[in-house]
Each structure stands twice: as C-alpha cells, then as structure tokens.
Amino acid sequence: MVELDHSFSTGKPTDYNWEAILDLDRLIPCVQGGRVVERTSPTSAKAEIKVKMGAMAMTFTGTVEVVEQDAEAHRAVMKVKSREAGGQGHANADVSFALSDGGGTVHTAAQITGKAASMGEGVVVSVLDGLIKDFTQRLEAI
C-alpha cells in the first residue's frame, strides 16, 4: 500500500470546488491520460487511464465511484478499481478529498500489482507522486 498526500489551490469558493470534484465528467479527465468511458450513475463511472512510458503505454480500465461524501465537511472519498488491459496487473486506490475555501487536499492510498509494481515500490511511489501532482495542477483550473 502506497499512501501519498497532496494539496491544491483553485482560488475558487468551497461550494464551487465541491461541485467540481463530485462531477466525474470533469474530474476524471484531470488525470493525465484519463477518460470517462461510461457514466453508470451520478456517483460512478467506468473509466480508463493510459499511462505513457516513453514508447510504450499501459492502459488501466475500471471504475471510479464516490463511496463517501459529507457535504457539510466537504469531504469525499472515491474508490478507484482498475485492471491492466491485456495484463494481470491491478491499480486500486482510495482517494480522499478534503476541501476548503480556495482549494483542498488529496490523500491517496493505492495498491498496484503486476508489471507496474515489478519496477519496485520506490518507482511506483515516484510515478504516482508525479501523476497526482500533475492531477492537482490540473485541478487548479477545474
């Protein structure tokens, strides 16, 4: 299990951030290579992420679901479950958002298995950290 913490600022009011985060059609494309494949309910979606590794790419397909939301505290937890397309690997994560006026924090608890994990935990942490940093930068413009 890899746990990472990041913060972001949007310069926008909490209510705006709250609505934006919970709108999976806006949130998922903020992950580089991420796209919504199908909306399955107001709080869930089938999605995929394509991670480019130079010449090669790994695609993970799965679901993103808002499993907890506290509108008063502006906290939400999303569960990501995905499987490597054409492979044996999995990438699962619980992503917790805590919003405040002008931004918020993201706590990620991820489990990666398969080919990506075979590079070692240090590499997985570096890549995930890069991915989430990039994600939080995109959140700033959501």
């Binding site: 590794m53 130079g54 010449a55 090669m56 590079m119 070692g120 590499v123 570096s126 890069g130 940093k133």
Partner: protein, 184 residues
C-alpha cells in the same frame, strides 16, 4: 594505412551513422536504451588540398530505431514507430543537422584524423571535436559524445518526469570509403 589524398562523398550506402541514447530517472527501468540509425545523410571528406575539410548533413526526419535494450518488455514494431514519431514531432522536429570542420589534423601517421568543427543542431551551433580512425585506409570510424542541453534541447521525458532520456548521447559513424574516388 592513411587515406589516399582525394575527395570522398559518403552516404548511407557506404555505412552507418548512428545515435545511442541512454535513460535516467526514478523509473528508468521502464524505458529502453536506444540505437537509432540516421538513414539519410551525406558526408564529404576533402583530403585533396592544403586545408583538409570534413562536412556532414543529416535529415532529422530519417532516424529509425534499430535496437532497444532494457525496459519491461521488448519493443515491437508499433513501439518503434511511436519512438520515431516522437523524435519527429517533439525532439528534432525536422530541424537542421549540419557539421562543418574548422580544423582537420592528420595523426598517427595518417591513420587518424583529428577533426574540430561546429555542429548546427536545430539552429544552435556548438563546437564538436572527434577522431576519425582510418584503419586499413578504406574504413572510417569515429564517434562523438554530445549533450542535448548544450544545443538547447530538453531531453525527452515521460511518466511525469520519472523516465528521461539521458542528456548525453553518442553519435557514431562506421563507413567504408567508396572506391574509385580517392585519386583525382
């Protein structure tokens, strides 16, 4: 054996011009060391007069992946095509590759040429120096290490900056001198 005096023109039909790249970064295990061949180039070796000269131009869109070592799995044809596309679109962008010597000095009894000159890479000109070994008088080999950042190039990176092409690359030539052009 020294190269006989004369003027020589060389291209891909006479040998290979290659570029070797390495990788760096936390996720370097995910990438490949590449051997790229420049498939369209022209070099001239003027050893006829008092001022010998060496020049080379290469087509930046002609690089082909010949080997990829390392990585989590072997490169397939699609991966190779992706790399070539990335070089064309994001790295060299079809820019200028042109070398002209300023000084060529015969060494080791004529079996080597020490070449100093300027390489124009995508509009940035920097001094480069290397040995050309003539061996048996008919074969020409040589290599030069270059740093991409010296030419204002940002080494290609992926995986959120955790996988990067190393700044230093090696450019090498290995060719046979074409017959019949040596004596003028």
């Amino acid at each position: 054996m020294p190269i006989p005096a004369g003027r020589y023109t060389l291209g891909p039909e006479d040998g290979t011009l290659t570029v070797r790249t390495g990788r760096t970064g936390a996720a370097s295990k995910a990438g490949h060391d590449l051997l790229l061949e420049v498939t369209s180039w022209r070099a001239t070796l003027d050893l006829d007069g008092a001022e010998p000269a060496v020049a080379l131009t290469a087509d930046a869109r002609s690089l082909k992946v010949r080997e990829g070592t390392g990585g989590m799995s072997a490169l397939d044809d699609g991966d190779r095509a992706n790399i070539e596309q990335t070089i064309d679109d994001e790295v060299l962008k079809g820019g200028t590759i042109e070398f002209r010597s300023r000084r060529v000095e015969s060494r080791a009894g004529g079996e080597a040429l020490w070449v100093e000159g300027d390489l124009d890479l995508l509009g940035t000109r920097q001094p480069v120096a290397f040995d050309l070994i003539t061996g048996d008088g008919a074969r020409l080999t040589g290599s030069a290490d270059l740093r991409q950042t010296d030419f204002g190039l940002k080494p290609y990176s992926a995986l959120f900056g955790t996988l990067k092409v190393a700044d230093q690359i090696e450019v090498a030539i290995d060719a046979r001198l074409p017959a019949g052009e040596a004596v003028r």
